[in-house]
């Protein structure tokens, strides 16, 4: 049983890094800051959580500390993305020409 668990754990860990890789690729390919943040946050959050879950299956006795790292990431990762996106919008970051509509800029324009 222990052996099978170990392999599932290692596979989860590998799956997690696959999402990290996708996040990196998205960061590279996306045309503007907002799309890059989107690619960066989502992929790295799931990627890290899967890796942590994989490590948990390999070393169950580390469970509490891994859970703490996971909980911390779930809260702070989206929060830092959001704060950065807001700051970028307020300081007028470049938007890709593909952007269809910007309600926030419209609402800012008319007081």
């Amino acid at each position: 049983m222990g052996q099978g668990m170990d392999i599932v754990g290692a596979l989860l860990l590998l799956g997690g890094t696959f999402f990290l890789l996708l996040g990196g690729l998205g960061l590279l390919r996306m045309p503007d800051l907002y799309n890059r943040i989107q690619a960066g946050t989502k992929a790295t959050t799931l990627g890290t959580l899967l890796s942590l879950l994989g490590v948990f299956l390999l070393r169950p006795e580390w469970g509490w500390k891994l859970l703490l790292i996971g909980v911390f990431l779930i809260f702070t990762n989206p929060l830092s993305s959001q704060v950065l996106a807001r700051a970028a919008h307020r300081s007028g970051a470049h938007k890709s020409p593909a952007t269809q509509v910007d309600r926030l800029a419209e609402d800012r324009a008319e007081p």
Binding site: I7, A10, G16, L27, L33, G40, L58, L68, L79, H94
Partner: protein, 86 residues
Amino acid sequence: MVESLISLAALLAGVAFLFALVRFIKGPTAADRVVAFDVMTIVSISFIVFIALLGDRVIYLDVALVYALLSFLGVIVFARYLERGF
């Protein structure tokens, strides 16, 4: 088997880190670099956890936690700086 899977995972994480590094160098704005840096930090957290696993040292998990904390604070501080205007 398990060891080689972990090594392969570390390799993938390394490539992800390189992608983020390219974005970090290319920019073009400071905010893009901060996003890239944030992704690099989070990839590093996985990396530190893998090292903890391979070396069987639970103490490295504390390093990962502090790393996550510093990355979060770093982004927040930068965002504040950006909002005050360049």
